[in-house]
Every structure is written in structure tokens, then in C-alpha cells.
């Protein structure tokens, strides 16, 4: 049986796995952005909080992904459902690049622009919303892009805790020593990563701040 035959015979399951995969990644990324961008702003604005925040995100990043899924298992509400668990773990991984890029984007806003904004009587909040965030948007988006590609890869491991997704095929393939099964998970995952990277890079290019 050729790979293509195999692929078409299992196309429904593969599609199902892909959709599960997208769901896991999308929810995790949404959470990571909602948490990571505000944390990045704090890192840029409150230097004394930047060490603990970046340190925490760094530690989350260094825990091997399989172990992180394991660590979160006993957490009461999270451990109750495998997709919850997977999403929380994925969001934790996605946090660091988002926090870092948000902080970098904001602290790289030209100090003359910030000075002028303050001197003309903009409040801190107005400066953040009307000047700093719009000017760092493409940098933040670059962080989201890196995190998304990373998360699509790591999400294959979510199958280990039964959260579904394309990792199912890979784990089954490994257990049955069946390369076609492994590829049925790996190829769509790789295509997803490439596609997400491409789409987000398009968006990023369109939103790149104009150079002074």
C-alpha cells in the first residue's frame, strides 16, 4: 500500500486530527497572547518586575514538554480533562517569546517620540495605547509567529495525555513501528506550521511600522 493510498483511506481521521490540533493550538495561543502581552508591557514598564516574570517564563520553557504535561496532571481543574491540560501546557510554552517581543517592541520605541508624547500632555495610558502598542505591533506579532510555530510542534506531544490532535498518529505509528502512520501525523503538522508561519509573516509585513 502506497503512502498516498494510506493517506486517502484515512483522510477522515487525519482531517479530524488536524482540526483537533488547530483547536488546541488556537486556544492555547489566544490564552498566551492575553496573558503574555500584558506581562510584556509590565516587563518594559516596571524593570524591577522584569526579572521574576522573564525568569518564570524561562523556567517554563526549559521544562521538557512531556514532563510539563505530567506536572500539570495533578492540578485540580486542569487535570480533569486532557484537552484543558494540553492547552495550559502549550500556553505556558508560548508565553516566553510573546512576553519578550512585547517588552522589546515597547522599549525600542524612539525616546524622542515618547518624550514628545509626554510633553504634549498625553497620559501614560494614552501613550501606551496610541503610541507604544501600535509602534510595537509588528514586533509583538513576530513573537506570536515564533510561538505559534513552536506550539504546533509541541502540540503533537499532547496526544501522550490523550488530548488528541495529530500526535495520535505519531504515537500510534511509533508503537506499531509503522512509518506511514507517523508520517500521517507529521506531514500535516509540518504543513500547519508552515502555513501559520506564512500567514502571520504576511500580516507582520503589512503592519511593520514605517521608518522615520
Amino acid at each position: 500500500m502506497t503512502f498516498l493510498q494510506f493517506f486517502s483511506r484515512h483522510s477522515r481521521e487525519i482531517l479530524q486530527g488536524t482540526l483537533e490540533h488547530i483547536w488546541l493550538v488556537a486556544v492555547a495561543m489566544l490564552l498566551a497572547v492575553l496573558i503574555g502581552v500584558p506581562l510584556g508591557i509590565i516587563v518594559a514598564k516596571r524593570p524591577w518586575l522584569s526579572k521574576p516574570i522573564l525568569g518564570g517564563a524561562n523556567i517554563a520553557e526549559t521544562i521538557p514538554s512531556l514532563a510539563l504535561f505530567g506536572f500539570l496532571l495533578p492540578v485540580p481543574w486542569l487535570g480533569a480533562r486532557s484537552d484543558r491540560l494540553a492547552i495550559a501546557a502549550l500556553a505556558l510554552y508560548a508565553l516566553l517569546p510573546i512576553i519578550r517581543n512585547t517588552a522589546a517592541g515597547i522599549s525600542h520605541v524612539d525616546s524622542a517620540v515618547r518624550d514628545a508624547a509626554r510633553g504634549m500632555g498625553m497620559t501614560e495610558r494614552q501613550i501606551l495605547l496610541q503610541v507604544e502598542l501600535p509602534l510595537s505591533f509588528s514586533t509583538i506579532l513576530a513573537g506570536v509567529r515564533i510561538a505559534t510555530v513552536l506550539t504546533i510542534g509541541i502540540a503533537t506531544i499532547a496526544a501522550a495525555v490523550g488530548a488528541g490532535g495529530l500526535g495520535e498518529f505519531i504515537f500510534r505509528g511509533l508503537a506499531m513501528v509503522n512509518n506511514q502512520l507517523i508520517l500521517a501525523g507529521a506531514i500535516p503538522a509540518a504543513l500547519l506550521a508552515l502555513g501559520a508561519d506564512f500567514l502571520l509573516s504576511l500580516l507582520e509585513r503589512r503592519l511593520r511600522p514605517v521608518r522615520a
Binding site: 508624547a117 510633553g119 504634549m120 498625553m122 514605517v210
Partner: protein, 275 residues
């Protein structure tokens, strides 16, 4: 508190050639002002001066002498360490910093135009913050662009990076004037311009009716600019005010820093005469 853009004088008794001892209450008064960095390093020491309504005071000095610091203390971009500053008779501590800053136009050397805003939106910034109606803002922007010599039809939709240095500077000045603040602080506003463009902007600047009645504190290290634009020239050296002159007095000053500036000016003149 937004001032209207009609031609009523911003302040009674606004005169271009003021002498000390005028009876009008000063627009800005600094009394024994000092500023120290948190590490104890002193940038300004016991600075006292007053600026009359409608007057242009130039602060002249070397880079790092403390001129910009003095300016930033007035609109509370920096908080003074000792002394007192009064703006229109009221201590700046009693002003809300945001209200104070919107009452005072601010133009800086690097201009600080918002790169993601068009020329139009940049100029409209303070009126927008003050909640003007769109019609009033549009009319004001058009008026200001004409005032600083920019064709509104051609430039209003451009972004700052599509302008030359001189054009950007003009937009910066228009922006500082937008809500018609009675007081203007200008920190090397023409500093980044080449000599010819600088000259053109100087000439325009002097002829701007709207600037005549404003109280202006202008910081520069350019003697020619100081003589051309100032009603009075305050010389700042190493964080202290070492002299206050009319342009005429300045040319005859014996105080070493002022004299050095005059000598510097003469050096170029003599070079020219020697040819």
C-alpha cells in the same frame, strides 16, 4: 481650557520688547531652582529667572550645560529638587501635570513626530486629546499648515518619513502650536537642520504672527539663533545662570562665557572680512 484660535491676544500687555521691571506678572518664574539626579549629581543649581508674557527668552549654553533640564522642569517632564517654579502665577506643583503640559506647547530637536501618524494626525494630536470637534480640528490643521508653509493638499496625508528634515521641523512646530497654547518651550527646535534650511525656518519663525504674542523659552547653542530670535538671552554654564542680557548687551558682555560666544561669532565674521 482649550484656547480658541481667534486673534485675540493670549495675554494682556503682550509685548515683544520687554525690559525687566515691567508691571505685568511673569508668565514663567523660576525661583532658586535646583535639580539633582537620583545619584546626587547636580545638573542645575539655584536658577532664578522670569519670563514676561509675550517675550522670547533664549537660553544659550554648551551641550550638557543644563538648558534642556531647565526646560523640562517647567512642564514637569522632570521634577525639581529644590526651589519653585510658577506658571502664570501658580506653582507648577498645584497644576495637574497633564493640564500644565497641554497649556504649554513643546517642540524638541528630534521633533518626535509619531511615525505611524500622518502629518495631519500629528498636528491634530493635542486638539484631539482636548476633544475638539472633527470640523474644528480639520480647520485648525489646515490653518496651521498654511502658517508654517506646507501645502495641505500635498502634505496632510503623508507620513513623517516621507518628509525632508525642514518639513518635519515645520510639522513639529505646527503640532506644538495646535491648541494655541500661550506658552511654548522649544528645545533646539532647529537643531537638526542644515544652515540654509535653518535660515529659512528662522526667517519664517520670526514673521509668524501667532508666535509674536506667545511666551517662548527657546534653548539653543547657536549664537546667531539667540541674537535673531531672543528678546533676552540667558547664558547657562555648568548648571548655573551666569548672565542675562538683551541682544545688544550680550554683544558687549564681559562675562567670560558670553564673551566667548561673541568672540566665536566674530571669528567667522573676521574670516569673511579677511577674504
Amino acid at each position: 481650557m482649550a484656547n480658541d484660535s481667534t486673534n485675540t491676544p493670549a495675554t494682556p500687555g503682550a509685548t515683544r520688547n520687554t525690559s525687566s521691571g515691567s508691571s505685568v506678572a511673569p508668565a514663567i518664574e523660576m525661583r532658586g531652582v535646583s535639580y539633582q539626579l537620583p545619584n546626587g549629581h547636580s545638573l542645575l543649581c539655584d536658577l532664578s529667572l522670569s519670563v514676561d508674557p509675550g517675550e522670547t527668552l533664549v537660553l544659550l549654553g554648551r551641550s550638557g550645560a543644563g538648558k534642556s533640564t531647565a526646560l523640562k522642569l517647567i512642564n514637569r517632564m522632570l521634577e525639581l529638587t529644590r526651589g519653585e517654579i510658577l506658571v502664570e502665577g501658580k506653582s507648577i506643583k498645584d497644576w495637574d501635570p497633564i493640564v500644565l503640559r497641554r497649556h504649554i506647547g513643546y517642540a524638541i530637536q528630534d521633533i518626535g513626530l509619531f511615525p505611524h501618524y500622518t502629518v495631519e494626525k500629528n498636528i491634530a494630536l493635542v486638539p484631539q486629546l482636548e476633544g475638539w470637534t472633527p470640523d474644528r480640528i480639520r480647520a485648525r490643521v489646515e490653518e496651521l499648515m498654511k502658517l508654517v508653509g506646507l501645502d495641505a493638499g500635498k502634505f496632510s496625508r503623508r507620513f513623517p518619513h516621507e518628509l525632508s528634515g525642514g518639513q518635519r521641523q515645520r510639522v513639529g512646530i505646527a503640532r506644538a502650536l495646535a491648541a494655541d497654547p500661550p506658552i511654548l518651550l522649544m528645545d533646539e527646535p532647529f537643531g537638526a537642520l542644515d544652515p540654509l534650511t535653518r535660515g529659512e525656518v528662522h526667517r519664517e519663525f520670526r514673521s509668524l504672527e501667532q508666535l509674536m504674542r506667545k511666551t517662548i523659552v527657546l534653548v539653543t547653542h547657536h549664537v546667531g539663533e539667540a541674537l535673531l530670535l531672543g528678546n533676552r538671552i540667558g547664558v547657562i554654564d555648568a548648571g548655573a545662570l551666569v548672565g542675562m542680557y538683551s541682544p545688544k548687551e550680550f554683544l558687549a558682555a564681559t562675562e567670560p562665557v558670553a564673551a566667548a560666544y561673541v568672540a566665536n561669532l566674530r571669528m567667522y565674521k573676521e574670516a569673511e572680512e579677511g577674504l
